[in-house]
């Protein structure tokens, strides 16, 4: 008798939160005032009081030597994003045990990193920060700013998915057709993203990827020198050290 476990999940409704161990909000700020550009991304704990936001904004402006008229815009942006997060908070979202592919495609200072992997949305104990740290350690990334960027990127994608599932729930509740159908929810983007695990793993049920697909899932890290225009390598093997050495050699 086949035990059907993958995919045939019973969704549980949970009150909205980030599907990670710590309920942190990813915040992205992108301002331009008087020709000066400020771009930043970080994670914020929504339980911190509002006074913290103000002092954080002031401190950041001071540290980065930004003019004072940055502060109100920064504040607005941050508070807006937090308020949006909180507006979701009262509602319910439906967690199906979906496994979604996440993508990372970032450039941080001189490092370009691209990666894709599968993430379990249903695991409310998942930890993007730990993932980011491990990734940076394993790939020997020297620039410390890469880690937070990766963590924020993952959180943003998770936030996106979580907020979509809230709207799916809302639609369901609003429609009120009384259908007690199984979860064949139709047109939401989120579901289409989900990997149909039956198909994926096939009847053999092996969890190991085929060797020829490995290259699709290897992270690619490149260190781009300043003078170049950020050429991206199309070669799919990840050997960052070797490439960095080549670059150094070519510069000398």
């Amino acid at each position: 008798m086949k035990t059907v476990s993958l995919g045939a999940s019973r969704p549980s409704t949970v009150s909205f939160r980030m599907p990670t161990r710590d309920n942190l909000v990813p915040i992205r700020v992108d301002l331009e005032v008087d020709g000066q550009r400020y771009r930043d991304a970080f994670t914020w704990n929504p339980r911190d009081p509002d006074s913290e936001i103000i002092s954080f904004a002031k401190r950041t402006a001071k540290d980065l030597k930004l003019p004072a008229n940055f502060v109100p815009q920064m504040l607005q942006s941050i508070q807006g994003q937090i308020a949006e997060f909180r507006s979701y908070e009262g509602q319910e979202m439906q967690i199906k045990e979906k496994i979604v592919p996440l993508k990372i495609d970032l450039r941080v200072n001189n490092t370009v990193i691209r990666d894709q992997f599968l993430w379990d949305i249903g695991n409310l104990d998942s930890d993007p920060e730990e993932f980011a740290r491990t990734l940076c350690d394993d790939l020997n990334i020297t620039d410390p700013e890469v880690g937070p960027a990766i963590a924020v990127s993952i959180r943003e994608q998770l936030y996106e998915i979580a907020s979509q599932s809230v709207s799916v729930m809302r639609e369901k509740q609003l429609s009120k057709k009384g259908r007690r159908a199984p979860e064949f929810s139709s047109n939401s983007k989120a579901v289409n993203n989900a990997v149909d695990l039956f198909k994926y793993f096939g009847s053999k049920g092996s969890v190991i990827r085929k060797r020829k697909e490995w290259y699709l899932y290897e992270p690619v890290v490149d260190v781009v020198a300043n003078e170049e225009d950020g050429k991206e390598e199309t070669n799919n093997s990840s050997r960052p050290k070797k490439r960095a050495e080549e670059k150094v050699a070519s510069l000398q």
Binding site: D22, T43, W44, N45, R47, R86, P148
Partner: protein, 502 residues
Amino acid sequence: MATTTTTTTATATAPAAANTNTVPTPTPPHPRPAAAPAPRAPSNLGPVKSEAPPTPSSTTAATAAATTTASGAEDLSNIITVPSYSAWFSFDSIHDTERRLLPEFFVGEAAAGSGCRGPDAYKYYRNTLIRRFRARPGRRLTLTECRRGLVGDVGSVRRVFDFLEEWGLINYGALPSGSKQAKERREEAVSQSSLPSGVAAPRKLCTACRSVCGLAYYACEKADISLCARCFVCNNYRPGLTAAAFKRIEITEDAKSDWTDKETLHLLEAVLHYGEDWKKVSGHVGSRSEKDCIARFIRLPFGEQFMGAKEDRMGFENDDDITDDPGAGVSKRLRLTPLADASNPIMAQVAFLSAIVGSDAASAAAQAAISAQSRVDLNDGEIDSSINSNMEEESSHTNGLSVNDLLKEAASNARAQLEKERNSIEQSLSEIVDIQMKEIQDKICRFEHKEMLMEKERQQRQCLRDLLFADQLAILHHQRRPQAVATESKNDEKPKPVINIS
């Protein structure tokens, strides 16, 4: 690039090897004597009650020198100065100071449940920040550049950063603009850290100011936020919530504050004067609410002893619950009234005396009296003179006599009550036994009835069997008939060979 990397490695590996704050060097220039007693550093500054570091002017900085490796690139000797009040720091472990001033990482559900938000995260932040600073000691680290390089939420990073900065583990001796802010933050930390440390685990953290809520805290279910009283009053919560959404939850009762002797004295005086008017009593005491006064009064040690006897007397009159042992198990209600009842000279005197003598002596007297009472033979009714030793003579004599009489009466009444109780118990026991017997009897009847029915059925079955047997015989008989017509006779009832009827 090369130089900074070498300095990083040098200073990073060196502190890890050391236990104290001094970084060992191959050629120590002139290590000051302050470096030696570094492990005992807090004592250098005299008694430091709270964890607040004193002002910088009074610190004796322990200096340590770190040299670069002999790569020949640069010959800097970076001096990393750590103030002696932070001498406890080490890369490998977490000190008590840190646990106390940053409880969010060590106490509470978030910290305990996961390794991420907990001590490991704290260590990661702290070590990274310090290493980063020590890479370029002359340069002042800003929070923004640090938090950009740390994976985690910026609120926690900021708190660790502030903590390290005010304790001089970061940005110490850096640009002057930093020191003023550091002073201010230190003063903040003083006010925050001077919370009562007598509160045991589990402590509640305020989500706003991240300090331990000592007294009571306000919890909001809707957003899972708990604030300490200060933050609640400052409206330090989100605009989406109203004050009504918060519920007040008390943490401890008397641990909030211990009643000093003066306060107890005031309390007793007030009770003496005002009796049961707790408003006036609390006004007289001053800084205690009515509830506190009542609660404290109940818990005072001296009241029990004498109120036991008095309570018995009152109890007989009122038909209240009487305990077998006079002086034990006093109900709150009765305890309050005797003392306040001015018509009772004994109680008034006792209150007055204990107020004069002070709570310690009063409690000692109470203890002695209790032990004396237990030693009293209820039949004889002799009072030990140990009571007299602690109280003044006259009052004790009068007390002794009346107590004696009361005791006798109480004892005899108690015995009577005891008898009653026993009788009632026996009665109820016998009732129970009766009922059980009845039950069993009913059951037996029913079983007998059933047996009879079964017996009848058996008989019926036997009849049926017989009939069946007879029928079978008849059939066989008829079968044999065509074969043996001649020999057949109606009277031939001789049974054929027995056929097994299955």
